[in-house]
Structures are given as C-alpha cells and as structure tokens.
C-alpha cells in the first residue's frame, strides 16, 4: 500500500532538530557569542544590516549565528523581522558632511580640505594568509591623532562651487520619500526608489553589474570622487516638542562617483553623480551601488539604454537576493502535478512524432 506522502509533519520536526544540532557544531568547542560575531566578523554584520535594511548589530549578529553564516539567510531573517516593526515616521535626512570621519579617500584630488584619511582598510595589505591569526592574537594598539573638526566638505561640494558637477537635488523635507517595502512598485521608478532598491540589493549582483559598466556595457567613465566612512547623527522631528531630537549615531559608508556627461543641446558638459550609501563599513557595496545608480540615470540624462546595468526594470526586478533565492530555491518544492502534465504531453508528442516517422508522406502533408 502506498504511503510515501505520509509522515511529512514528523519529517519537518526531525529536520528542524537536526538543523539545530548541526548549527551548534562540535559541542566540545565553545559556542560563538553574539559579541564575538558583532565584534570580530563585523563586516559580515554590516552587510547583513545593509541588505536587511535594519540597523541593529545585535540582531544582525543573531541572524548570522542562526543562519550558520549563510549571509543571504541572515539577511532574510532580519528582513522578516523588520517587516513586522511599527513605523513611527522618517528621520531627518542625515548630513554626511557632518560625519565624524574615520576614513576618507578621494581618487580625484591629491589633497583637499580635511585631507585624505586612510583609516582601516584591506587595500594595501598583502594577501598572505597570516598564521598568527590561527591562534590567539593580541595586536598592537592603534596609532591615535586628534579628531578632525566635525564639518568636512564633500569633494563633490568642492567641484559644485564651480558648477563643474551637477548639483545634488535640493533637500526638501516636505517631499515624501518613496518606500518600496510599504508601497507597490511600478515602472518607471524615480531615483528615491531606485536608490532604496540598490541599497537593499545583493552586493554580488551590484558588483557584477557595476563591473559590467566598467567593461563597456553602459560605460559612464567613473572616478571615485570620494569614499567616506564614519559616524553620523540620526535626528527625528518630534512634532510635540517642535524640534529634531537626536536618536543616536550610526556608521555609514558613502561613495560619490563622479562621471562624465557630454551635455546636450541645452545643457553644458559637466560631471554627473552616482551615489552609494551603506550601513557600516561596506565599501564594495557603496561603490558598486554608485556605479549602478549612475548607469540607471541613463534615461534621465538622455543616454541610450542598451546595457543590463542601465535597464531599470531588469536591475530592480532581479537585485533582491531574498526574492531571488526564494524563487530559485522554490524549485525544491514538489512540482509533481505539473511534471505529470508535462510527462503526459511529452509522451503524446513523442508518440505522434514516431507515428509520423513511420508514415513520412503523411507528415509532409501535415506540414503543408
């Protein structure tokens, strides 16, 4: 008697139990703590917060632990939690020119007010596996210097004084900002929604798209005008007290790409901007985002839309790794009803094919 489809409930329970067991790993080895993940795998935590759209180091660390280090699974956990949170309102726009900068580099000027600050980076390390880290290590304390005065103008603002670069859209606190997690998205989408989509987008997907634009698929001649990392204050306008109250500081990476623009009949040639912003230290993400943001402005700037990176429907519909992984992995779900239909159809088509082969003249007639 056929019983294969029975017992699913028991199988699920056992699968969850086995998962918990394997997550724990060797029980003779101490369990990893959230503080260790947050403090020592901090760039992973930054990525999960960025693509999870939720700034909470502790929950992101928990998600990484629960997901056994699977970053997309961790992002998914954080997103699902975020979806249930009540919305109080939107913060005031954060002012990155008032960032307490820990790292700031420009590839366009050798020096500028505030200077170049290398900060912590893998950039000039030699990628040699370090056996010292295999054991317990106690690195030297970092070298210290006086903190810079708070205001540090952005490189793009310096260019903007001469009109060499398009101006940033003016800040308008009354202009509602779209939220694609709360409203249905339709195309064409404005830049606020595009940037939100890119901020949540899979780092690898944006990296490849940005890279493709550098290799000629929608080339836009980028320069890394400035990348800065540091802390900014988040303020919330409290209507009952009548002024903005500080909620705390968050760490951000901002990238301003400076790109060529040839001008049109009515507009002089000038530099244009691509913008990237991410939680924590996420330079690869912020840079890729800026490249793709600029590529997606093709329509607005009157450029031909030919390459994948310039195609807003293509980019925005496929950038979200939580959506993508769900749909790719749903192929694991049973499809045997549809497969049975296909099987029936295929058998019929093959039968007809072979019958036609046996009587070639009829096949010829059928084709006419």
């Amino acid at each position: 008697m056929y019983v294969a489809v029975k017992g699913g409930e028991r199988a699920i329970e056992n699968a969850h139990r086995l998962l918990a067991h394997e997550r724990r790993g060797d029980r003779d080895v101490p369990e990893v703590s959230l503080a260790q993940i947050s403090g020592q795998l901090s760039l992973g935590v930054d990525r999960v917060m960025t693509e999870g759209s939720l700034y909470d180091r502790e929950l992101a660390a928990l998600a990484i632990k629960q997901a056994r280090g699977d970053m997309i699974e961790a992002i998914f956990l954080l997103r699902a939690f975020r979806a249930t949170l009540p919305r109080f309102g939107a913060s005031e726009p954060v002012d990155t020119s008032r960032m307490q900068v820990r790292r700031r580099i420009s590839s366009t000027f050798k020096d500028m007010p505030g200077g170049q600050i290398l900060g912590s980076t893998f950039d000039y390390t030699h990628r040699l596996l370090d056996p010292v880290l295999a054991g317990e290590s106690m690195p030297e304390a970092p070298a210290l210097a006086e903190a810079q005065p708070l205001a540090m103008p952005r490189v793009t603002d310096i260019l903007g004084r001469d009109g060499l670069i398009e101006s940033s859209p003016a800040e308008d606190a009354d202009q509602p900002v779209g939220d694609l997690t709360r409203d249905a998205l339709s195309f064409p989408a404005d830049r606020d929604l595009r940037l939100q989509n890119l901020a949540r987008a899979d780092e690898g997907f944006l990296l490849s798209l940005g890279y493709s634009s550098q290799r000629g698929y929608g080339r836009n001649h980028p320069f890394a005008g400035e990348i800065r990392l540091g802390e900014v204050e988040v303020e919330f306008m409290a209507e009952d007290v009548g002024f903005a109250v500080p909620l705390g500081a968050i760490t951000l990476t901002e990238c301003q790409m400076v790109n060529q623009f040839k001008g049109t009949d009515t507009e002089a040639p000038c530099f244009t901007r691509g913008y990237g912003l991410a939680f924590g230290q996420s330079e690869r993400k912020a840079m890729s985002m800026a490249l793709v943001d600029r590529a997606l402005r093709a329509r607005e700037l009157g450029e031909d839309v030919q390459a994948p990176a310039q195609d807003e429907e293509f980019v925005m519909s496929h950038s979200d790794n939580v959506q993508a992984t769900g749909f790719v992995e749903h192929l694991k779900l049973p499809h045997y009803v549809d497969f049975q239909s296909e099987l029936g159809l295929l058998r019929k088509l093959r039968k007809e094919f072979h019958e036609a082969m046996e009587t070639p003249s009829e096949m010829q007639e059928a084709a006419e």
């Binding site: 008697m1 056929y2 294969a4 489809v5 029975k6 017992g7 699913g8 409930e9 199988a11 699920i12 909470d56 502790e58 929950l59 928990l62 998914f76 997103r79 699902a80 939690f81 975020r82 979806a83 249930t84 949170l85 009540p86 997690t181 709360r182 409203d183 249905a184 998205l185 339709s186 195309f187 064409p188 429907e313 519909s317 939580v322 959506q323 992984t325 769900g326 749909f327 790719v328 992995e329 749903h330 779900l333 049973p334 499809h335 045997y336 009803v337 549809d338 049975q340 239909s341 296909e342 099987l343 029936g344 159809l345 088509l349 007809e352 059928a366």
Partner: protein, 294 residues
Amino acid sequence: MNAPTYNFAYLDEQTKRMIRRAILKAIAIPGYQVPFASREMPMPYGWGTGGVQVTAAILGTNDVLKVIDQGSDDTTNAISIRKFFEKTAGVVTTTSTADATVIQTRHRIPEAPLHAQQVLVYQVPIPEPLRYLEPRETETRRMHALGEYGLMHVKLYEDIARFGHIATAYAYPVKVNARYVMDPSPTPKFDNPKMDNCPALQLFGAGREKRIYAIPPYTSVVSLDFEDHPFTRYKHDACCALCDSGDSYLDEIVTDNKGSRMFVCSDTDYCETRQSQGHRGSENAAPYAESKHA
C-alpha cells in the same frame, strides 16, 4: 533585544486593510492584476508568500482552514503553512474540502465541487500570463490595458502548426469575464474547467511579484483556444489504484527499480473520502470481494 510580538494571523491590521483593499479591487475587475505592497513574510518568496498574505488578510476566528500542495494536505510545505496559521491565528484546520471555509492551494483545484461559502486562495509564482512572451512589465501592462492579446494567440497557433494541438500542459491561459487574459497559476489544464462559473470566490496571491487578482463567484472563465482546435481537458489512461476513480487528476508513482508504476489521485482528501465510501482500486483490494461499490 527587541523581542517580536505578532498580531492575529501574523500581519498587522494596517497591512491586512491594505491587502483587503487590493482584494476588493481585484474582485471588482475580474482577472486584472492589482499591485499590492507585499510584505516580507517569515517564509521564502516562491513558497506561498502571496497566498499566505491573502489568507492572513481574509481569515476570521470562525474560519476553517485547509491547505494543500499538489492536491495533498500532507506535503511538507502545506503542513508548514497550515502550522503557521494554527500558531499565529489559532483557527480550526481541516483536511476535508467540504468542511473548509478557506482553502489555500498550490498547483491544484480540489476535485470535490466548491460551494458558495468557500474561498479558494491560490499561491502564484508568476502572475503575468504574457511574461514568457514579453519580459517587460511596462509592456505587458500596456497589452492588458488595450486587450491586446495577439501575441498569446500567435503562440498557441504556433503550437498547432508545429504539433497539431496546443502544447501547454499547465498554467494554461484563460480569459476571465470576457476581458482579461489570466494565468490560472501552475495548475494542470485538467483543472481549468473548474474555475468557470464556480460558486466559490477564487483569490490569487503573488508575493514576490506583488500582485493580487480574483475571479468572483459565478464568473465566466474560458480557456483560450480556436474554433477548429477547441480546448481539451487532459485525460489519464488509468484509474486511481486506491479508489478506482476514473475522472480525477492522477499522480504517477514509480514503485520499483524496474520502473513499474501506479497511478493514484493527487487530491488525497477526495481519494480518502472515496475509499471510506467503499471504493477500491487495483492496489487496494477490499478484504471482501463483495465490497460496496461492486
């Protein structure tokens, strides 16, 4: 740490109202895909998040819920979704098609006729019937607006020219209320006739693609075809090996390494109901040959 607390049927009331507005619009324009602000659910996209959101938005405390996948209540994802609502809504669940007030389904329509007190909620992966003919949403929305379905008819015609018949076995497109061409979700075309003039309300939720659409009760649903090549329902060459049904949709089960196979009903409730009424198939011979249906 921020400990989560959840509302009845998981979604907050504001979100439910937003989804209900989309559902009402969908009912008012049968077959039209209404965009909605799909939420991130605690199960993956592609695993029924659209259906789950629709069910969560319409579920009341007195509802009786049935969840099926591939026609069966005991497939793992159906169990997982049923448990989700048992946990978050505390509603009564059932495997009986007749007893359910809300039935969430993936890939099948129950064999037993539905009645006017029921809602059938479909999980939909790709709501756009024109998607594989035209990948751009901006284009397909325009085609729907203009009722411009030539592309679909050309596709079906090409099938006929090549194979002598329409070679679409599931997700077979339909026209709803003589206006919108609609994807019935990946149900086998065997199930298409059940959608037509159905007394139950049929709701379709696509979470990842953020669309809801509907077929109100007693609405005409016509499978696309040509006068000289009318739609035909898929017919199995076998009867159910368990309940002997000759007109239900059958799963093919491979029973040994030599490739022997048997066919059983995909709708497990239908099959079990028939067996309890005494119907016996070849693999399930009654202990006494003179059983009821003899």
